[in-house]
Amino acid sequence: MIAKFFQKGVSRRKFLGTTASAAGLGLVGSTLPKRAFAADKTVKVGFLAPLTGPVAAWGKPGLDGCEIWAEWVNDAGGLEIGGETYAVEFVGYDNEYDPAKARAGATKLIREDGVKFIMMLGGDTWAGVERVADQTGMLFSTLLPSDLGPETTTLIAPAEVHPVYNVTGVEWMAEQHPDLKTAVICAQDDALGLPSVATYLAAFEAAGIEMQQEPLLFDPATTDFAPVVTKLISDNPDIVCLDTCYADYVHPIVEQLFQQGYEGQIISCTADFYDQMVEKTSKEFMEGFIFQFPDFDDPELNKDFINFKDPNKFFEVYNERHPGEWGAVSWEYASIMDLWAAAAQKAGSVEPDAVLEAMTADGSGKHAFGDADWWGEDLFGIDHALVGNWPVVRIEDGKARIMAYKSIPEWYDKHGELLKKHMADFGQMWNQRG
């Protein structure tokens, strides 16, 4: 019970509020009406991601988003699949971004909970799960297509093509600011950081931007970023790139850039909780900060080609329930569920092989940011990444705004060889990963 409570990541407000109201609820609980479900069956979906620890910001908000997704689906009567109606239930497991715990979690979710699909963050944790996927044939999803390889036949990357979409931010920045000619980059030395470094290096090279230093890799245990920032800005670069640093690193690095007097362009994969960075620095300092993940109240998300259902309402409900916790992954796992639900309905089955077949059969799918293609054999060894357009986001007057949607395949058609070269240099091609 305690473990379950812990896994769900209780917030301070929830903890205090729940404690205060528990007695009252106990008194009246028996008189409350039971919630009625139209569904006659339940399909369980596993959520195997870091819910605690330094990478929790890319797990826990996703589960919170999924709970909203499930509530909307279930309140609407559930999913009609193969003539039966299913309610959807998420079963969370905190892998703490640890491969061994991810393996234990996958086994538990499949054997004990009977899930039909497992969503993961991926990265270091996929290595722990890969054998379980091979043995069981379970359908898994990852946010990191760098997990893909020719042998990962039941792994899909349907939400984001990390880190390849980072090229769109660099491409847009170079178009808008041709005066920016030099860059530096830092990243944590891990499975998230390295492929992203390779991608940014390719994007900078494609844009004619010169790297002033070798990429600065730091230990994920780093707490004081002053030395890192001192080195980064020692040659006065036009651009500081924060790669795919975790939020726990992006914030202190940005604060240090501010305190050490940096005045150039900052580009990053994510800027989770950017309002806190604005508070720690200033609106003026953060003006023009480029990253890749929009707030879902952005009017640009109401365009016809957007496939995510009612993004503005989703953002509103999410923020009501989890104020101040909106992050890069809050919507992503929910968008994967849209794809999964559509495929299950098309297949008339919740079984993993049938859903995968239905999802990828015609080579295209409805990605959150528009129709996209199953892609990736050239880069990942398998066409299991759903790739299309991706937004470029910039902070303007303290608020994230979508500046443009840029095509990832179009960039790759022009500069794919560069990306493969840098990926190979960092040992990140599918045939180099151990």
Binding site: F6, A221, T223, A226, V228, K231, A247, H251
Partner: protein, 289 residues
């Protein structure tokens, strides 16, 4: 290049300051009680979370909150002494194992109460002292440096000039002989735990606006602190301070001129080198080590 060296020196001073506070507290507890307190990093974390709770959430004055953090974390130290270390005094590994359990309890309690994600601590001040365009010292970092100097000087005076300080030193040198002289071992243990934990707490509270505050933030701090006390000599307060300065400067300069991963390797190599050349550490003595 001179500006880069100067800025790196200032960065190293800050790192040495907070690392000294943590390491000296750890050494004090070991010296008086003979316990390796694995929960020391979590006491650092509790100091930071006191700031989150009282300064961020309740908007109390920061200076007052730092003082309260010292008292609160110091009181936690007394609780640890009373509930774990005293009953397990005769068990050589008991205190160590109990402290590992306690660190997990603290992490779980903070995770449940505050959530698992990084906490935002608003800046206390955004003032920066500018020596030049590329040499700058944020005032919050200066406060950490000055506070460490003042607190460590006060601790030195306490240990050298007061009766309680003499009692602590006597207990650290020979517990049984100190008891025969009428010194209360229980009282000195409580004082040592209060001061040792309080130093970790004040380090956490002072650095909270500068770092990512999360339930697992104690891990990296305790690893660095162990390296420092091994290099300095387990049981030596002077050694802990000097080793903290050496470690901070080496780690910071290597990070700046090479990278952070190499800096970690160099830091551990430094510890191994000291262990090979002088197994008791730079200032350790054979009987305590």
């Amino acid at each position: 290049m001179i500006e880069l060296l100067a800025q790196t020196g200032l960065n190293a001073l800050y790192a040495a300051a907070y690392m000294s506070l943590v390491a000296v507290g750890l050494v004090l507890i070991f010296g008086v009680m003979g316990v390796i307190n694995f929960a020391h990093g979590e006491l650092f974390m509790m100091g930071a979370y006191t700031v989150v709770a009282l300064y961020t959430d309740f908007q109390m004055p920061y200076v007052l909150v730092v003082g309260l953090a010292v008292m609160f974390v110091g009181a936690l130290g007394i609780f640890m002494e009373w509930s774990m270390f005293r009953p397990l005094r005769d068990n050589p590994l008991g205190g160590l194992v109990a402290s590992i359990g306690f660190l997990m309890i603290l992490q779980a309690a903070v995770s449940m109460g505050f959530g698992v994600r990084m906490e935002h601590v608003p800046p206390v001040t955004q003032e920066v002292i500018e020596f030049s365009d590329r040499v700058r010292l944020p005032v919050q970092r200066l406060v950490v440096i000055l506070a460490a100097v003042v607190l460590l000087a006060a601790l030195w005076a306490f240990l050298k000039k007061t009766r309680f300080g003499w009692a602590l030193r006597a207990s650290a040198q020979d517990r049984e002989a100190a008891a025969l002289q009428g010194i209360s071992i229980r009282q000195t243990a409580q004082i040592a735990m209060f001061i040792g934990a309080g130093l970790a707490g004040v380090a956490g509270a002072l650095t909270a606006p500068l770092i990512s505050v999360n339930p697992h933030m104690g891990h990296s701090v305790i690893i660095a602190a162990f390296i420092v006390i091994i290099v300095g000599g387990i049981g030596s307060l002077e050694g802990a301070v000097i080793a903290a300065v050496i470690y901070a400067f080496v780690h910071t300069f290597v990070t700046t001129f090479y990278d952070g991963v190499v800096a970690d390797i160099v830091g551990l190599s430094l510890m191994l080198l000291v262990l090979v050349v002088k197994p008791t550490g730079l200032f350790g003595t054979a009987d305590r080590a």
